[in-house]
């Protein structure tokens, strides 16, 4: 009982320390993002410059104001500029604003975007990201899970058949991964959409969208084929190679040889002495891939015109919409932080070599 309590305390202390460390890291990374996304406040200058130019141009181009004295034009434009500056919150000094951003980010309030709106018309960062997240998860999480499973099973199979023709083939295919997924995507579009005309060029669903939910879902699936395929071609070969090597390394450990020498059945050796120690890095890999998939993929989304978080981030960066950038990073930082803490706990459970306080 005493031992158990001390273990609980140890685990609690360990998790607490890890959580605090991760929390500090999250605060620092989010604040750094705020500073970088705003270029230390210079972005205000950029936004105001563009604002002035565009508002003056819009007033000048408005036939209603033709012939108005310049003072009147100036008054109208300046009032609009002032309102716009207030609307964007740029009337407040950047340093004060940076802490507001930090507070919003850390409390996951996220606030409102400066310029971007969700297609449903909301400028709450949560709504904007929330609108894009499902499509990103649908495509990239699916892609990453499929790729991960393929890598895992093919890698394991090849490690068992080290030196076989299949193994050699897999090794020779590994350089395919020197190109990113979007690169193959372009070729896939040319072949399957432009040349053969059997799959769509991109987008989420057919135009016009089918009325029946089932047909809608099938249409979405059809639109997922090419991006999935392009990512499979780009990322499976190197993943398979990595996993295969990984399994091979672990299968050559001394304790595996010892187990084999002891006459432990091969299946048991594989399950207990190879797969179990491999689990922590594999799980880590899987979790990180899963989280990163929620951030989308900027270029792939562009190539396939997929309305996801990646495109949103690209748009936000291009027009300096700091709250959106900060919001996405904050969510990502939290997910990553939580994952790190949880993974640490999982390691302790699944890896026999790791013990708290030992």
């Amino acid at each position: 009982m005493h031992l158990k309590r001390s273990s609980v305390i140890k685990v609690g202390r360990y998790v607490g320390v890890r959580a605090v460390t991760v929390a500090v890291a999250i605060v620092i990374s989010v604040y750094l993002t705020i500073i970088i996304a705003n270029a230390g406040g210079y972005v205000d200058e950029i936004i105001i410059s563009e604002l002035r130019f565009n508002i003056y141009e819009s007033v000048r181009a408005n036939p209603m104001y033709k012939g108005y004295p310049p003072e009147e034009i100036r008054r109208i434009a300046e009032e609009r500029i002032e309102l716009e500056i207030k609307k964007m919150g740029l009337d407040q000094h950047f340093m004060i604003r940076s802490f507001n951003y930090l507070y919003d980010a850390l409390t996951l309030n996220l606030g409102r975007a400066m310029k971007i709106f969700s297609s449903s018309g909301s400028n709450r960062v949560w709504d904007i990201i929330g609108e894009r997240l499902p499509t990103t998860v649908l495509l990239f999480t699916t892609a990453n899970i499929l790729i991960f499973l393929c890598e895992l099973f093919i890698g394991l199979t090849l490690s068992r058949r080290y030196g076989s023709k299949l193994d050699k083939l897999a090794v020779s295919l590994a350089p395919l991964s020197s190109m990113p997924g979007w690169f193959y995507g372009i070729f896939m579009i040319i072949i399957f959409a432009s040349w053969l005309g059997i799959l769509p060029y991109g987008g989420l669903v057919d135009a016009p969208p089918p009325e029946e939910p089932l047909l809608y879902a099938l249409s979405v699936l059809e639109h997922m084929i090419l991006p999935l395929l392009s990512w499979a071609v780009a990322y499976i070969p190197i993943g398979v190679y990595r996993m295969r090597t990984f399994f091979l390394m672990f299968s050559m450990e001394d304790y595996v040889d010892y187990a084999k020498a002891r006459g432990v059945p091969p299946k048991v050796v594989e399950r207990r002495y190879i797969l179990r120690p491999v689990l922590p890095p594999v799980i880590t890999d899987f979790v990180l891939v899963l989280i990163s998939s929620w951030m989308g993929a900027i270029v792939t989304e562009r190539v396939f015109n997929w309305p996801g978080v990646g495109t949103l981030m690209a748009e936000a960066i291009a027009i300096n919409d700091a709250p959106v950038i900060i919001g996405a990073v904050a969510i990502f930082a939290y997910l990553l932080g939580i994952s790190v803490v949880v993974l640490d706990m999982i390691y302790a459970i699944v890896d026999p070599r790791i013990r708290v306080g030992e």
Partner: protein, 901 residues
């Protein structure tokens, strides 16, 4: 049996014929509403993919320009349709501070007006247009847009400028060298130095478009002149703080590759001189650094404020401003881009000369398949659903607005090719303006009357008082004897309130829709109102500067009077201000009063706000009539309106509503929402069928309950650009009259003379230029008559006749040219005499040649005679022999007879 079968077959065939004929005829009848049944908007921003998708017929039109030379080639080669709009233009902006920058003490060559002017010679605009932009641009020299009406008006001045300032590197170099030396610079080893340091030009180059290549080209030209060029590449965001907000005196830059855009056909570009060349333009430090020749400044000011009394005075000012602006050259114009718009060949659509397909207000009426009525058209757009849709102050993005325009209609529609307004729900208008205003009219639906004073009636409506909930009259607000610069009497369509004209939800259009617009337009700016919005106040105040009064003269048919100090050079534009100001098409879309009433309730309850600014202030959502969290709030407000029988501004509006109108309308709206899932109700040729916010798609369906047929605006399907053909001239003799026929047609049909504004000619000869007008003979035929006074004024040498035709139906002038030789009468007569002399000497030569030919002939005859003589001997001998032979033969016969007996 056979007969029966034959009769049966014939009967079936005849029957089939009868069955088929009505269907095929019917299918060609223009339907009510638009030509096509459905338009689907979806997104794609990759230009190459867009073209591929159109080639595979996965989309029929792209609602953005695709201005890339390789795409133009593909489109031409693979048979897609295309057209051009002209809204974007590039220039070089100079930093005029100097000669030395106060902050750095370094020399700024572009502080010297002569160097700036000389830069016009240094830049080869034709190279930029042809090579860098692959033909998707035309050279531009002046502040006037080459495809807009003002350019056509002053085409002769523009031509002179274009001839004077055409590319001439050596000439420009000579001027720049002379001026640089005057400024104290030294030219050593191919480089300019000032006080021992190289003269460096800091060049801000935009990289998002062709301006990067243009910047590189200009840098090359400057380096050829001996300047050291320091290029700084960047996007708008990176460079605008330097050139727009920065102080030019700091010397952070010398040159910037500027770009400007206009999205509508601007019929009056007179203010461009004040805007682009003087301090009047903008308050930023760069503009405030402009120093002008006092005469030019005065002219630019007059044109900016429209301080001229007649069209002739304006013409004179414009001509001077054009020439003087070249001398000042605070910026030099480079090219006017031809933006490429692409569609499938089987589809037809009206495009706007400045805004292309998406900028055209007439696209919903003109979009059709060339060979059929109905069908679905898929339109690609770079983006959609960018911001919330609400008619008062929703999305202003062109991608959304081009869709919104199809769902509503204004009482007048702008001509996409001229920018002039045509009546849609209006029968006619009378425009009264003060006699000293240089206003003209072009189209027949408007009457223009010039008068002395225009007094606003005291009982005309001026504004809404939110605290007293009443309409304030002009007399109450401004007192007696209020005057206006213009008055418009608008006679709306007689059928407007007949019950046939309906909103998409089935509600009948009524005068309340117009009155509501008047009230809410004022109410939102009144602090006592529950929907007061301070973000709206600056625009409202600006509008009230010129608004003088509104009066309903007749309720049915609707006739209104509108008083204003706003005036334009075109009476049609003044009429449009009056007709559309309170027409229920708001700033960002159409709306009947009952949909805005629920928006009113939502904003008054601080749940939503019409403007983004107020939404931010209240920390609520920006009102969205088509999707998102707004819908539930609007639905609850609709339920509240139904339960309360809510009538907005009931103190006034109830007098304009029938007993059951509010409830009927709210019920219609509820049915509409339950059926379509949104609150966007318009009255245009299409209604909003479906919005998919995740996939970014919008589906519009044809509104077949519309009062107009699809062919109403058919004549705007293709621009009626005049095609000119002039008879060749050859030679013109001074003081001798010349008459040449000029045929003008469009699409192979003679151009109606009434549709042509004018046909001007420009004669450029070695001694200068002359202008005049061609005369109409009949439709499609004009004559250029150059009288003795005109030909007498021409100097000898090669000359050119340039014909410029300006149509009322398109803003772009059509130009044709022919070259000829001018000769003096004396010279010509001398030439003729010399010619006769030459002919005479030629005749002598010909005579001697004939003589010699005759001699030769006689000797030939003699030869023949000799031959004949020699031949006669032979003949005689032969005859002799023959006679002897005959005698011998006869004798032999007789001898033979005697021996037998």
């Amino acid at each position: 049996m056979n007969k029966i079968v034959t009769s049966l077959i014939i009967s079936i065939m005849v029957l089939n014929l009868f069955c088929v004929m009505p269907i095929s005829l019917k299918s060609q009848q223009p339907p009510k509403g638009p030509w096509v049944d459905e338009v689907v908007f979806f997104t794609e921003s990759d230009p190459d993919k867009v073209v591929e998708m159109m080639l595979r017929n996965e989309a029929q039109i792209y609602f953005d320009d695709l201005s890339y030379p390789h795409i133009l080639r593909t489109v031409k080669e693979r048979g897609l349709s295309y057209t051009f709009s002209y809204g974007l233009y590039y220039e070089l902006t100079f930093n005029p501070v100097g000669p030395l920058f106060p902050a750095t003490g370094k020399l700024n060559p572009f502080s010297n007006a002569k160097i700036r002017e000389a830069m016009n010679y240094i830049i080869d605009r034709a190279y930029i247009a042809g090579e860098i932009l692959g033909g998707l641009a035309v050279p531009r020299y002046t502040a006037l847009t080459p495809s807009f009406p003002d350019y056509a008006r002053y085409a002769d001045v523009a031509y002179e400028i274009e001839s004077t300032y055409k590319y001439n590197f050596e000439k420009g170099k000579a001027i720049i060298f002379e001026e640089m030396q005057k400024m104290g610079a030294e030219f050593r080893n191919g480089k300019w130095y000032y006080k021992g340091e190289p003269v460096a030009i800091k060049f801000l180059i935009r990289i998002e478009d062709a301006r990067k290549d243009i910047g590189d080209y200009v840098s090359g030209q400057l380096e050829k002149l001996g300047f050291t060029v320091e290029k700084r590449y960047g996007k708008s965001a990176e460079l605008s703080p330097i050139w727009i907000r920065g102080n030019p005196a700091n010397g952070e830059w010398h040159l910037y590759t500027g770009g400007w855009i206009t999205t509508l056909v601007n019929r009056d570009e007179a203010d461009n001189f004040g805007y682009f060349y003087t301090k009047i333009g903008r308050p930023e430090p760069l503009w405030q650094a402009y120093e002008n020749d006092p005469e030019f400044y005065a002219i630019a000011q007059k044109l900016y404020y429209r301080n001229y009394k007649s069209a002739e005075e304006r013409d004179e000012l414009m001509a001077k401003a054009l020439m003087m602006s070249m001398k000042e050259s605070q910026r030099i114009w480079l090219v006017h881009l031809a933006s490429l718009w692409v569609s499938r060949p089987e589809v037809s659509i009206a495009y706007d000369l400045a805004g292309g397909y998406s900028g055209s207000w007439l696209w919903p009426w003109t979009l059709r398949y060339k060979d059929k009525v109905g069908g679905q058209v898929k339109v690609l757009s770079p983006d959609l659903l960018v911001e919330p849709w609400n008619p008062i102050a929703g999305t202003n993005w062109i991608f959304d607005q081009s869709v919104i325009r199809a769902t509503g209609e204004t009482s007048l529609l702008p001509d996409p090719y001229t920018g002039l307004y045509w009546p849609h729900r209006v029968e006619k208008a009378e425009v009264y303006v003060k006699e000293d205003l240089p206003v003209r009219k072009t189209l027949d639906w408007v009457s223009l009357i010039k008068v002395g004073d225009i007094v606003v009636p005291g009982d005309a409506w001026y504004k809404w008082d939110a605290s007293q909930k009443k309409i304030v009259t002009v007399k109450e607000a401004l007192g007696e004897n209020v005057k206006a610069l213009a008055k418009v009497i608008v006679y709306y369509d007689k059928e407007l309130f007949s019950g046939k004209y309906k909103w998409h939800d089935g509600s009948t259009f009524s005068i309340a829709d117009i009155i509501f617009n008047f009230i809410i337009s004022h109410d939102r700016a009144d602090p006592a109102s529950p929907i007061y919005d301070k973000a709206y106040v600056p625009d409202y105040q600006a509008a009230m500067e010129t608004f003088k009064g509104f009066k309903i003269v007749s309720k049915n048919p609707l006739v209104i009077e509108y008083y204003t100090d706003t005036w334009y050079a075109d009476a049609e534009w003044i009429a449009a201000v009056g007709a559309d100001d309170f027409w229920p098409y708001y700033l960002q879309g159409p709306a009947p009063w009952h949909t805005l009433a629920i928006g009113y309730l939502a904003e008054a309850d601080r749940k939503l706000a019409f403007t983004a600014d107020k939404a931010k202030e209240l920390r609520v959502d920006w009102m969205n009539f088509i999707a998102g969290p707004s819908l539930e709030i609007l639905k609850s407000k609709l339920q509240e309106a139904i339960s309360r029988g809510f009538i907005p501004y009931s103190e006034v509006l109830r007098d304009y509503l029938s007993a059951n109108e509010p409830l009927t309308r709210y019920q219609n709206l509820m049915n509409w929402y339950n059926s379509k899932g949104h609150f966007w109700v318009g009255n245009g040729p299409f209604y909003l069928e479906k919005v998919d916010t995740i996939a970014k798609q919008i589906v519009l369906r044809a509104y077949r309950g519309h009062v107009d047929s699809a062919d109403k605006w058919l004549k705007f399907g293709e621009p009626m650009i005049p095609e000119l053909s002039i008879q060749p001239i050859g030679t013109v003799i001074q003081t001798q009259p010349v008459v040449r026929n000029l045929t003008i047609s469009t699409h192979g049909i003679p151009y109606r003379a009434d549709d042509l504004l004018y046909v001007k000619y420009l004669l450029v000869h070695p001694g200068g230029k002359l202008t005049g007008f061609a005369e109409a003979v009949k439709d499609g035929l004009y004559q250029v008559r150059l009288g003795p006074d005109v030909t007498g004024a021409l100097e000898e040498g090669t000359a050119e006749l340039i014909i410029i035709a300006v149509s009322k139906l398109v803003g772009t002038p059509s130009i044709t040219r022919t070259t000829f030789t001018v000769k003096s009468l004396i010279g010509y007569v001398g030439e003729q005499i010399a010619g006769v002399k030459g002919d005479l000497s030629g005749l002598g030569t010909r005579l001697s040649s004939v003589e010699s030919k005759v001699d030769a002939l006689s000797s030939q005859i003699r030869g023949v005679q000799n031959q004949v003589s020699s031949l006669s001997g032979v003949v005689y001998a032969a005859v002799g022999i023959s006679v002897v032979s005959l005698i011998v033969a006869v004798a032999a016969v007789f001898m033979t007879r005697k021996s037998k007996t």
